[in-house]
Amino acid sequence: MLLIKNARVIDPASGTDTKRDIWIDGSRISRIAPAETPAASSPSTNGETLDATGLVVAPGFIDLHCHLREPGGESSETIETGTRAAARGGFTAVCPMPNMRPVNDNASVTRSILERAAAVAVTHVWPIGAASTGSRGESLAEIGAMQKAGIVAVSDDGHPIATAKLLRQVMDYCRALDLPVVDHCEDSSLFAGAVMREGVQSVRLGLRGMPAATESIAVGRDVQMTELTGCRFHVAHLSARGSLDLVRAAKKRGLQVSCEVTPHHFTLTDEDVVYDTRFKMNPPLASAEDRAALIEGLADGTVDAIATDHAPHEAASKDVEFDRAPFGVTGFETALALALELVHSGRLSLMRMVELFTTGPARVLGKKRAVAPGEAADLTIFSTDHPWIFHVNQSASKSTNSPFEGRKFRGAPMVTIVDGRIVYRREA
């Protein structure tokens, strides 16, 4: 039994922003009532009372895109450390991509992930299964069996879905199963050997760059295939204005296309890249115009979700020459604070921001997220002004590859509740 008192509840499902008290019984929300004054006592006998004065309570955040590395890459992260880091970021559910070792391309890997999660994860784990066997782009993976085992979407993330022909097969198949297809949109021939976005900075640093078209050419292909097959399609980590324009046009035509943007893409640009592998990820940091377009897309609804693409790498593997470092940065614990920077600067409303973490991603997965009686008690409680500084050595993640080390933030996740249990509470 848990009582959350005097919370500012922002619930995108009902479009409401109200002061409420919330009762949680077991793993469900049992009752919601207008907030009483702090002096009044509550009727609950056993259980904790959480004073949420000055804090926002939202439905539990969902991260549509992350890498938990287990099985196979446990030196950089495990399901346990990853979900703990996610909880510290306010996330109540995470969707790990299938590029583990072995690749999650069949039901037994899916089941082993879910069993492990049941034992050690502090958030929900909703795995994404591979589209092709081994994500090698040659033949269809056992998608139906994986769906029965519990995947929520398919992707060959790490790679684009290799050919238009394979994409069509995957989409036809997934439409019948009502599974969304998530693509890491990239034209391999334009990408070849690149380590950052092509531009003044790449030329200055002498690093090989890829043009924005590397992504948008693939988005264009995938949108047309969506039209052909009628399958739900989601663009992973969208980073370029050109890609956004294609998604916007597709939505206007009524196609079931959605997209996500990562916090590092709406915060940094290619001008921030230096010879420091904490700034190396794929898709790479884009231009200032792209960033401005992404923020506009976040505000106007073209972008459906903020997803972290949390990609941990052990320190030694990143401590090499820029060319040789693996792509990826962590992101669970800084996502909300970075999104709040957009709210503080007036570019995003708080309601819209909450949508991007909750109902937006839920809709992509065909799920619901709401703060209402009877709903699952997955809640994210955060402050919009708590001042703090992010330090990688205080993070729950095993890895430290974040470009935001030392960044001062205003606003942070304070309490994370999953299935009615508090899985994270910020130290004073």
Binding site: V203, L207, F322
Partner: protein
């Protein structure tokens, strides 16, 4: 007084004052190359590690000779015999060399930013002898010295660079260096090697894909070599390059009559440069090589010779006689 130099990683991070200082320091070493006995004891007992992960004959020999003429010893790591082939990382190799206590590391590596990366991990001075497609600082210094000697100045000149500007690191270093001195640049070559972003490099940089237009009014013509193969790129047919971009005597006439021709070497006569131009009176290639030795001796002297307890207030006026 120019700010104390601790490494030489790029020209981009040097001030005009530091560049002028290095070129002035090179002058006595130019004169030194004419001595009958070319051996100093200035860096006696000091060791220069030459870590060339990318094979290079000319630059490596130039640095080795510079070190040796200053009296220093060298440690030699060469790509062919490198343990990198056995999978040892750059960082491990650098640390292994460092554990043998050299006084300086001169390195060449195929990754842009590799010298910066090594310098962040080691305390001793690091000299970038070429990192990926990023910079080749000593080449730009010796080019500037050559220009200054032959022309009397390196200021406000029209400089045309012909070739693969995108991938040849010398181009960036030259751009950064001569931009400090008011030079105007025309970058010339096939469109895919001339990204528009170069125009953001200095106040006076323009591009041209036509060599005749690019050479008009040039005081300095820098010819870059053509790398015959490159990863991830469809190759340009060499005959196309020769037809459109070879520096021939006729094309050279379009430039100013006293224009200088520079080439970082090695030249392929008949490819990017006509043999008569390569060996003609306007060509400075041999002086470039001699000046390379002088610049590298000056650089090693400045980085290694000065002691840690050196007190700037104690100038030579008070030094022991």
């Amino acid at each position: 007084m120019a700010e104390r130099l601790r490494d030489l990683l790029s020209i981009e991070e040097l001030t005009a004052g530091q560049i002028a200082f290095l070129l002035d320091e090179a002058k006595p070493f130019q004169e030194f190359q004419r001595h009958p006995l070319k051996k100093l004891a200035t860096l006696r007992g000091k060791t220069v590690a030459l870590a060339f992960f990318e094979s290079s004959t000319r630059t490596r020999i130039s640095f080795a000779t510079a070190a040796s003429r200053l009296g220093a010893d060298t440690m030699n790591l060469q790509a062919e015999s490198s343990s990198l082939k056995k999978g040892e990382s750059l960082l491990d190799t650098a640390r292994t060399l460092d554990a043998m206590k050299p006084d300086c590391i001169v390195m060449r590596h195929s990754s842009s930013g590799s010298a910066d990366f090594v310098a962040r991990h080691l305390d001793i001075p690091v000299v970038n002898a070429g990192d990926g497609t990023h910079e080749h600082p000593t080449q730009a210094l010796l080019d500037a010295l050559t220009i200054r000697d032959r022309r009397g100045t390196m200021e406000n000149l029209n400089v045309t660079i012909i070739g693969d500007i995108l991938h040849i690191r010398v181009a960036r270093s030259n751009l950064h260096l001569l931009s400090h001195f008011g030079c105007r640049f025309t970058l010339c070559g096939p469109a895919m090697w001339l990204p528009r972003e170069f125009e953001c490099f200095g106040k006076q940089v323009r591009r041209s894909t036509r060599i005749e237009e690019a050479l008009d009014g040039a005081d300095i013509v820098m010819v870059l070599r053509v790398q015959q193969e490159r990863l991830h790129e469809p190759a340009l047919p060499l005959n196309e390059y020769i037809l459109l971009y070879q520096l021939t005597p006729e094309r050279l006439k379009i430039a100013r009559p006293d224009a200088l021709v520079l080439h970082p070497g090695p030249m392929i006569r008949g490819l990017e440069i006509d043999p008569t131009v390569a060996d003609g009176p306007q060509s400075c290639v041999l002086e470039q090589v001699t000046n390379g030795l002088a610049v590298r001796m000056a650089l090693l002297f400045v980085l290694i010779a000065t002691g840690s307890e050196a007190d700037e207030a104690r100038g030579s006026a008070h030094a022991a006689h």
